[in-house]
């Protein structure tokens, strides 16, 4: 009897526990400062695709900070903005810039203010850059390979001491002195639109008191002092919420006194790519910078992309196969070119790339957009390599390779001139990156059909990056320097061919991972490094000629195999709650999502749908 009664007691107890636990969900997740009524949909813009996983820190000193700090200018701002449509540097904290012979000078906007009312001064700018000179681990430090000093000037051009004071005539002119032996204004411009300017009066005392390490581990998530138009309101593992700052300095100085239209910009955090597509379709998301399959079928639901027709997006990145030219047959240019001939790039674009890019042309220069001015169709025709299985076989045969096929037509092995078996080369790609996996499979299929003994090797995502940097691969997928920036296409060539940081296999490098053009080996092509060094300072028409020469060397040497074009910064948008997005037919801003560089300007132009009716 006892036991039966015990059992009957259990059920209600279980129910009570369940209810209590359900209740605790809300109790434990309570965030500070939230209002129960929620954000009004008509005043909220939902953007996505720039934050994956839980936000951790909003510290602008960290390399891996979260949206919107990492994508710049909702919270912290840069001096300039690069407009990928016009190729021009547009003003932000700096109202103008001048490129002189040995330096680049910017003038700060006198209206620029921090959120605590203090002006944004040359001292802030100098501090933000100088930190990276002293501390190599800060994100801004690489610019110091290209500059010698940051100098502050007063209105008359006299140098101002680096001692910040509260004064109305603070220095507004800042000069970046280029390194004479590595003069590269292009990269410095990259950095002027990349480096977040931080409030010196907040950071300097903190670093002096507690040291840099302690300062970098602060989160800066509670009403931080910023200069940008939106302030961090709250965040959780599900979303990041920013709220419009009515007192943002740029409303008057840059936007004719208007406020940004959405009161809140929210970045929801979903766990799978599909959810962004679903949320866009359902109008829960307004803009997304994620891969949306079959975008043309979403138009009826009000979801569109930059272009209404194929390729829908503007490609800026070039996924390619990096080749370790020190590995066996890959040292042979003929073998590399035969590989490039054997890959079906149309299949890659259509099957792996959803047809979201224009047809691939040979070389490292994009045939469209701003880069088209350096592109030569004649060179591409004469030196370039496209899909041509017959020429792949011919190239192999001319170089003395023999391929053995079995009776079913499958490749057994490849033999070199001496009759020795050529080692199998493996193409590495991270497991689970399905578009890259498809690309690699298409490439391997083409190579084997042409008689090249290649195989796919899908590896753990963590090992992938180490192997890439250490050069531990035969061929490996990689998209170098993909974001639009003032230094294109120079930075793409640099990422693929420079020998500046050349190191043997096993040591990590972050450019030219294929160890191409070893400066210590016979056959070193000094001309490549010369061209890379001079192009940034050349004027037209010399610059175009130099680009052409470099691109021809690339096509002849084939140190990597470009596979297709890919958009890097892009968006799809839903017209359910907002309209007047920038598109190819109404291109008032480049295709960047609000919160990402120029795209932020869209916040002043969007029109809520509810208001229109």
């Amino acid at each position: 009897m006892m036991r039966i009664r015990e059992r009957s007691k259990k059920l209600p107890a279980v129910a009570i526990i369940a209810v209590a636990l359900l209740g605790s969900v809300s109790a434990c997740n309570r965030a500070s400062g939230g209002d129960g009524d929620g954000l009004p949909r008509a005043e909220t813009l939902y953007v996505a695709g720039r934050q994956w996983g839980e936000p951790t820190t909003f510290n602008p000193l960290m390399s891996s900070v979260q949206w919107p700090v990492n994508n710049i200018n909702l919270m912290y701002e840069t001096l300039l903005l690069y407009n990928a449509l016009t190729g021009k540097m547009e003003p932000l904290l700096a109202e103008s810039f001048a490129q002189l012979n040995d330096d680049i000078e910017v003038s700060l906007n006198p209206a620029a203010r921090w959120s605590d009312g203090k002006p944004v001064t040359g001292w802030d700018v100098k501090f933000s850059f100088d930190l990276g000179d002293k501390n190599k681990s800060l994100p801004v430090s690489p610019v110091w390979q290209y500059i010698d000093a940051v100098r502050l000037l007063d209105e008359s051009g006299k140098e101002v001491a680096d001692t910040p004071r509260d004064t109305p005539d603070y220095p507004r002119r800042v000069a970046f002195i280029l390194k004479p032996d590595r003069r590269n204004p292009l990269v410095v411009l990259d950095w002027l639109q990349d480096a977040r300017i931080i409030p010196r009066h907040i950071f300097e005392p903190e670093i002096q008191k507690h040291g840099l390490d302690a300062t970098t581990s602060l989160k800066f998530d509670k009403d931080p002092v910023i200069s940008g138009p939106y302030q961090l309101k709250q965040y959780s593992s599900e979303k990041i919420v920013t709220e419009r700052r009515p007192d943002y300095w740029g409303n008057n100085a840059l936007h004719a006194g208007k406020l940004p239209v959405p009161r809140y910009v929210v970045h929801p955090i979903y766990k799978s790519n599909d959810h962004f597509s679903i949320a866009l379709r359902q109008g829960r998301l307004d803009m997304s910078s994620t891969f949306v399959p079959r975008i043309w079928r979403k138009a009826e639901k009000g979801v569109h992309a930059w272009l209404e027709d194929p390729p829908y997006f503007v490609g800026t990145g070039m996924p390619m196969l990096f080749i370790n030219v020190k590995h066996g047959p890959l040292a042979d240019v003929a073998y590399r070119r035969a590989m490039a001939f054997s890959i079906n790039y149309v299949d890659i674009r259509e099957l792996a790339g959803s047809n979201y890019s224009e047809p691939l042309q040979p070389g490292l220069i994009m045939p469209s957009g701003l880069e088209a001015q350096f592109y030569s169709a004649a060179d591409a025709k004469q030196y370039g390599v496209g899909y041509d299985p017959a020429r792949a076989k011919q190239t192999l045969a001319e170089a003395g390779y023999k391929s053995l096929f079995n009776e079913k037509g499958d490749l057994v092995e490849t033999r070199d001139k001496a009759g020795q078996r050529v080692q199998t080369v493996y193409i590495k790609s991270p497991t689970g990156w399905s578009d890259w996996e498809s690309i690699v499979k298409i490439a391997v299929r083409g190579m084997r059909e042409a008689g090249i003994d290649a195989r796919e090797k899908f590896i753990d995502g963590n090992l992938f990056w180490t192997d890439l940097a250490k050069g531990e691969f035969d061929l490996i997928m990689n998209t170098p320097a993909s974001a639009p920036s003032p230094s294109k296409p120079w930075s793409r060539f640099d990422a693929v061919m420079t020998t500046q940081d050349f190191a043997p296999e096993g040591e990590k490098v972050y450019k030219n991972m294929g160890r191409f053009n070893d400066p210590k080996a016979p056959g070193y092509i000094a001309r490549i490094d010369q061209l890379l060094a001079t192009i940034p300072t050349l004027k037209e028409p010399e610059r175009s000629a130099a680009y052409r020469e470099l691109n021809v060397i690339f096509m002849q040497q084939q140190p990597t195999i470009p596979l297709m074009y890919r958009p890097d910064q892009f968006y799809e948008f839903s017209t359910r709650h907002w309209t007047n997005y920038s598109t190819a037919t109404h291109p008032y801003l480049p295709p960047q999502i609000p919160g990402e560089r120029c795209g932020t300007g869209m916040l002043w132009a969007l029109v809520p749908v509810a208001q229109k009716q």
């Binding site: 929620g38 839980e54 929801p268 766990k271």
Partner: protein, 356 residues
Amino acid sequence: MLKNHPVLKHILGRAAWYLVTFLVAVTINFFLPRLGKANPVDTIMAKVSAGLDTKSANAVEEQYLKEFGLVQVDAQGKVVRGKSGKALKTSLGSQFVNYLGMSLRGDLGGSILQHPKRVSEIIKTAIPWTLALQLPTIVFGWLIGNVLGALAAYKRGIFDKLFYPGALLMSAIPAFCFGILLVYWFAIKREWFPAVGGYDEGLTPALNAAFLSSAAYYYVLPFLSVFLLVVGGQAIGMRSMCIYELGTDYVKYAKLLGVKENKILYYMFRNAMLPQLTGLAVSLGTMVGGALIAEIVFSYPGLGMAILTAIQSNDYPVITGCCLLVTTTVLIANFTADLLIGLFDPRIRAVQGGKP
């Protein structure tokens, strides 16, 4: 001395074994993620190294390695270097000692990928969602599944004929597939329920009507996606157990003796229940691991995703911390089940206690 207290002896004996299991599990938890070739800093570097030159990249990497205790540091806090100028790695042994020390102090360490977040913080924000999704589905799914299964076995006839194939389908359908079908039918085809998330994006978690009703609305599909499968699985198991019991000698004998049907049912249910009880204990133990599939399919908050991301990026402290939590709860649940079964099942009591 313990001879006179068979129950106590039984409990202590089991407890000792569980302690050993726990220690082995903790050791494995620590070493397994660290045996691979890659380390978590590689993952971070992949994200932050774009555009860096080698010198700055190496400086960044070293700073992270130092931060996470993966390189040796001298008394002044400077990185110890070998002859080649490279930082010396901390040995696995000393990392383990360090880890044991921290664990004893109840410190799970800090996440590497989500630096500077503490592991305990990650667990604390995720666990209420996980429990809210898992506990009701498991407990109610178990109860309802078992009752329905027993009913089907006992009643047979048309109820069983309709119920059994349904339950079979539910128990056999993969969780992700069922979740996706639910999303397709009820969130995309007909927009009855939201497809993703735990609550409306415009809201903030708080104890108010707006949030709670939104959370309840968003709860429906993820709940169903797990609940129906649990019911199906439990019912199938219980049904076959009961059918087996119905055919045993003691039931036949009891029937022949003319024992009342309710009494027979009670005996039968008790016996059929035992394996199901162990099953319940195991699922209650593992539930803190999260309903990974439901979390992915619905972008639902929870611990499963935290563990998956940690494993994918070699975030040692998070993997180890979450595994420690799962290990502990599984062991506690099993221990409890062991004791309960001992109490419920006279056969086990007899063997353990040495008395009939």
